[in-house]
């Protein structure tokens, strides 16, 4: 009898950045076609499409994203089901999980997961207004809170209670930029010195511009396949061995501890149990570091180090070659942060790494990848653990 394992058989992404010549649909189609071509499948093979997107309704005034993606990918004649998955900035991870479950259930054999966000058509305070809709609009954003402000409030309390210097936070963008300098698809390729990271202009104190992910356009896509498909086509692929999602309160103030990402903690416990691997087995992690502080909290709540102790990892251990390499892709700060695409883009990075095709930024002997995609201030976390072959 066949198991119902789920494999990743293809991946593709656009460049991330300010892509003035590309529309929402251009981006989605470009990534989708790259993934399909990479997987070596044809439109007749596709059972369903799950498209992740966070804010097209508010930014681009375009809803009905499932139909948009399928139509402009040339898949409307076949009537292939295509739906949008929205879980704020964790939409990508959530779409991956829905696609994974659809194959696990036995319903589908080949599913395309895409993620897209087109954010740079709006600028300055107007895009901050739209991005603040990921918070509680009536009881946080209404009073002037922004995603950066909430991260900054968390950061100040964390630094205060655990005696952590701002420098520890600044090591996160330094590492992201170093890694992104080796990733052609990344938004930024410049290396960042610690001094530059410390001296940038304030956004929401104690966080400055280098603590915050940029506004980005981009899309990513992967193709998932069932065990049955793999056997029939004599294919090998990256296996999804753990998948979990968990929630927390919408407002930061409603949580018992503002610097504990409970959704991350719960999802990590479930994903590790399911994958049956240990923290030490993980070759690298892709973290949702939309703000530098979150990388520290995530390392703790994923179980790599005790609460308050991430400062022991961020100077050396998160580098390529360290104990737990973080964001070989460049992460949200330097690869970029196109909301709905992020979680799928993490899979693209893992796909390259686990296939030993990551070029200059290849992690040696990469066997297990942990991908952490988070919504808003930690309202949902989606975790996937992948195994190479």
């Amino acid at each position: 009898m066949l198991s119902n394992n789920v494999y990743i058989i293809g991946a593709g992404e656009t460049k991330y950045g300010e892509l003035w010549d590309k529309s929402l649909r251009n981006l989605a189609v470009e990534a989708g076609l790259k993934a399909i071509e990479n997987a070596g499948i044809y439109s007749k093979d596709i059972d369903a499409i799950y498209g992740a997107n966070g804010l097209a309704g508010t930014i681009n005034e375009q809803e009905n994203i499932g139909a948009l993606i399928a139509d402009f990918s040339g898949l409307s004649n076949e009537g292939i089901p295509s739906i949008r998955v929205e879980a704020s900035t964790a939409s990508g991870g959530a779409a991956l999980r829905e696609a994974y479950l659809s194959i696990k259930s036995g319903e589908y054999n080949v599913v395309v997961v895409g993620g897209v966000e087109k954010m740079t058509d709006i600028h300055g305070s107007d895009i901050i207004e739209k991005m603040s809709s990921i918070l509680d609009r009536e009881w946080e954003a209404f009073y002037g809170a922004t995603p950066a402000a909430m991260a900054a409030i968390i950061a100040r309390k964390y630094m205060h209670d655990f005696n952590v210097e701002k420098e520890a936070l600044a090591m996160v963008p330094v590492n992201d930029h170093l890694n992104a300098s080796k990733n052609l698809n990344a938004q930024y390729h410049n290396k960042l010195t610690l001094k530059q990271a410390m001296d940038a202009i304030p956004v929401a104190e104690p966080l400055n511009l280098m603590d915050c992910s940029p506004v980005s356009d981009g899309a990513a896509a992967v193709v998932l396949a069932s065990e049955e498909y793999m056997k029939r086509n004599k294919k090998e692929g990256i296996k999804i061995i753990g998948s979990a999602i968990a929630q927390d309160y919408l407002s930061v103030g409603s949580r018992d501890s503002i610097y504990t990402l409970k959704s991350t903690k719960l999802a990590a416990e479930k994903a590790f149990r399911r994958a049956n691997v240990k923290r030490d087995d993980i070759s690298f992690v892709e973290l949702h570091d939309s703000f530098s502080i979150y990388a520290l909290l995530e390392l703790e709540d994923l179980g790599f180090v005790e609460k308050g102790k991430a400062k022991e990892l961020v100077y050396d251990e998160i580098k390529t070659g360290g104990r737990i390499p973080v964001n070989p892709s460049g992460g949200l700060k330097a690869k970029g942060d196109p909301y709905g695409a992020v979680g799928v883009g993490q899979v693209v990075e893992a796909y390259l790494q686990l296939n030993e095709k990551a070029g200059e930024r290849q992690i040696k002997n990469a066997k297990y990848a942990l991908l952490h995609n988070m919504a808003g201030t930690g309202t949902s976390s989606v975790i996937h653990i992948l195994e190479g072959y």
């Binding site: 209404f142 809170a145 409030i153 929401a204 103030g253």
Partner: protein, 133 residues
């Protein structure tokens, strides 16, 4: 443009700092919620309006330099989490002081202020901010 009803329906809570109390476990909540996350269905019909004192202390704060459009004229401003004496933690601005005097743990109390302007021709919205006590 925001319809008046969207603002009007929250006015009571925003102007008077009215939260809810679960009569099943006595926990207090702000903002208002219809179900107690500890008592679940046991709290149905037992959530009652509860006037908060407006006194509390600063859990943490940020000085915001990059804001959304409705707050452009207020930057830099202090955004904080405030633990109210009755228990709930509220997200609000701290005003009428030098941001350098704001500290974690300092006592604050509620003040009634203009919150935001909805565009140049839009509605001016009011509600709570906090001042150092």
């Amino acid at each position: 443009m925001t319809e008046l009803s969207r603002i009007w329906r929250e006015t009571e809570y925003r102007y008077n700092l009215i939260g809810y109390k679960c009569k099943n476990c006595n926990r207090t909540y702000f903002p208002p919620r219809d179900i107690c996350p500890y008592c679940h269905r046991e709290s149905i019909g037992k959530m009652e309006k509860f006037k908060l004192s407006g006194n509390g202390e600063i859990t943490s704060y940020s000085i915001v330099h990059e804001s959304s459009s409705a707050f452009k004229r207020q930057v830099p401003y202090v955004m904080a989490l405030i633990k109210l004496n009755e228990g709930p933690v509220i997200t609000a601005q701290i005003v009428d002081c030098d941001p350098d005097n704001v500290e974690i743990g300092k006592k604050v109390h509620m003040a009634f202020r203009k919150i935001r302007e909805d565009g140049t021709n839009g509605i001016i919205e009011y509600g709570y901010k906090f001042k150092l006590a």
